[in-house]
């Protein structure tokens, strides 16, 4: 496997009238091709900030980020689907903005939608879809631009527990099948352990790495199955202890 992303000594200060906030102090990590890394940490510690910087939404204060010619896609916490566009049009949005929309890419997006159970909804509007389906559309919208690395910021937190489980199963399968790498930010330890090859635990703000776990399960499988693995509860408890609870 080869390294596709490297972050070194990342630092981020936010400036507001009231004060200067150091959100990320010294964060370094590497991502291998096809690897799923989960980042957990106490609320407000700077997790979203890290992803925002990686995706170019925010400027870093210092440090280096290198990912060569790889492309990064970002999946937000809410699906942010446009109600006035059809499902297909929503999924083509990124391509349209980047002016990369060709018949070939359109066919690719349609094939993704069909493959992942949304074939009957190409011309429907988002308000006809359930929360889980909407999240799947949001994922395909991100995949449409063919990113190599997917960033996801608590992508399921707006859903109920049942849908969360199914959609995390779906996302996992889709990303594995499409051979993507994933950085997943979550506050749900079970989600982190069941989806990640590696879990990074952050300290309280400003974010630094407190500990890293290589997740080695007896029978690695899909997220729902992984939750039943013998080693699962061990990691769950270890990480639970590691996170700073207020």
């Amino acid at each position: 496997m080869s390294k596709i992303l490297e972050i070194k000594n990342l630092k981020k200060n936010y400036h507001t009238i009231q004060k200067e906030t150091c959100a990320v102090k010294d964060f370094s990590m590497e991502l291998e091709e096809g690897e799923f890394v989960a980042i957990v940490g106490p609320s407000g510690c700077g997790k979203s900030t890290i992803l925002s910087i990686l995706s170019g939404l925010e400027e870093k204060s210092s440090g280096t980020i290198s990912y060569g010619d790889k492309k990064i896609g970002y999946m937000l916490q809410t699906d942010a689907l446009f109600e006035w566009l059809t499902i297909l049009e929503n999924c083509l949005l990124g391509l349209r903005i980047k002016k990369e929309l060709t018949e070939e890419k359109k066919d690719y997006v349609i094939s993704l939608l069909k493959k992942y159970g949304l074939g009957d909804f190409l011309d429907s509007y988002p308000n006809h879809l359930s929360g889980g389906m909407r999240q799947r559309v949001a994922l395909i919208r991100t995949l449409a631009t063919k990113p190599d690395i997917l960033l996801a910021d608590e992508p399921f937190s707006a859903l109920d527990y049942q849908s969360r489980l199914t959609i995390s199963e779906d996302v996992f399968r889709i990303l594995k099948e499409e051979k993507k790498s994933l950085i997943l930010v979550t506050h749900d330890i079970a989600e982190a352990v069941s989806m990640g090859n590696r879990v990074i635990v952050l300290t309280k703000r400003p974010a630094m790495i407190k500990k890293e776990y290589e997740i080695v399960l007896e029978h690695p499988s899909t997220p729902i199955e992984n939750r039943k693995d013998k080693a699962f509860s061990y990691y769950y408890e270890e990480i639970w202890k590691e996170i700073d609870h207020e």
Binding site: G56, L57, Q77, A80, W84, G94, R96, K98
Partner: protein, 263 residues
């Protein structure tokens, strides 16, 4: 369909027709009362006119060919100022959204202009632009534009920040955010503003016609009152209510069409 459901539907329908009937009845009753009391001399028909005389006046105007002319003029002025102020409203709201600093700088001026009774500027407008259609259009736009701008700008500002973030994750340029997100997500705001806008323009146009006093329904009313021809005045008012209703109904139609397209 069950019996109860049938009964319910029947009942609902009956109520609807009853309301419609009463609405017409009220109008009819009022017209009859008006006609009778002026025929029997209960009220002074010189001052209060009567439905018959109003109809007569309109027929005469129609035969002279001036009825349609005046309606046409008023309609044209209203639609022109409506289109101009809608267009300018969107344009200026866009500028404010684009350069946040503009919005902040202009904010107090908008507040003052918005609360200023625009009629007060009438005489000045007349001097600047002369007694012609320009003054009328300017008056109408003055009345409708500020509120249009403010409403549309509010809508632009309220766009979901997550959606803007999404656009940025695709490295969208500012004009793309405007084109693909800000504008389409505000379709309903713009239509709602149009509803307000068309009434405002209509008011402005009539005010302008009072001032300029050359042609249009506003002029008819003004002229009628000057020569003490109350038949003419009331005919003008009746025309105005028809026109106002028609304008409002066409915007409602527009709204319906735009909603159907989306769902």
């Amino acid at each position: 369909m069950s019996k109860e459901q049938q009964k319910f539907l029947k009942e609902t329908k009956r109520k609807k027709y009853l309301i419609l009937f009463l609405q017409f009845f009220l109008l009819f009753f009022f017209l009859c009362l008006w006609q009778i009391s002026s025929s029997l001399g209960w009220i002074n028909s010189f001052i209060f006119s009567s439905p018959g005389k109003v109809i007569q006046t309109m027929i005469t105007l129609f035969k002279e060919g001036s009825l349609l002319h005046h309606i046409g003029i008023t309609l044209f002025e209203t639609l022109l100022s409506f289109f101009l102020s809608s267009l300018l409203g969107i344009l200026i709201a866009t500028i404010l959204w684009w350069w946040d600093i503009c919005a902040k700088v202009l904010d107090p001026y908008f507040t003052v202009l918005n609360s200023l009774p625009k009629v007060a500027l009438g005489p000045m407008i007349l001097i600047w632009f002369g007694a012609n259609m320009k003054s009328i259009i300017f008056m109408a736009m003055l009345i409708s534009l500020i509120i249009s701008i403010l409403n549309i700008y509010q809508g632009f500002k309220k766009v979901d920040s997550e959606k803007i973030k999404l656009m940025k994750t695709f490295y969208a340029k500012k004009w793309q955010i405007w084109r693909y997100l800000i504008l389409p997500s505000n379709a309903s705001t713009i239509i709602a503003t149009s509803k307000l806008n068309i009434s405002m323009c209509f008011i402005g146009v009539i005010m302008g016609e009072f001032l300029v006093s050359k042609e249009g329904i506003g002029y008819l009313i003004m002229y009628g009152s000057q020569v003490f021809n109350l038949n003419l005045v009331i005919s003008g008012i009746v025309l105005l209510s028809f026109l106002a209703t028609a304008l409002y109904a066409s915007i409602l139609l527009l709204e319906k069409l735009s909603i159907r397209r989306r769902d």
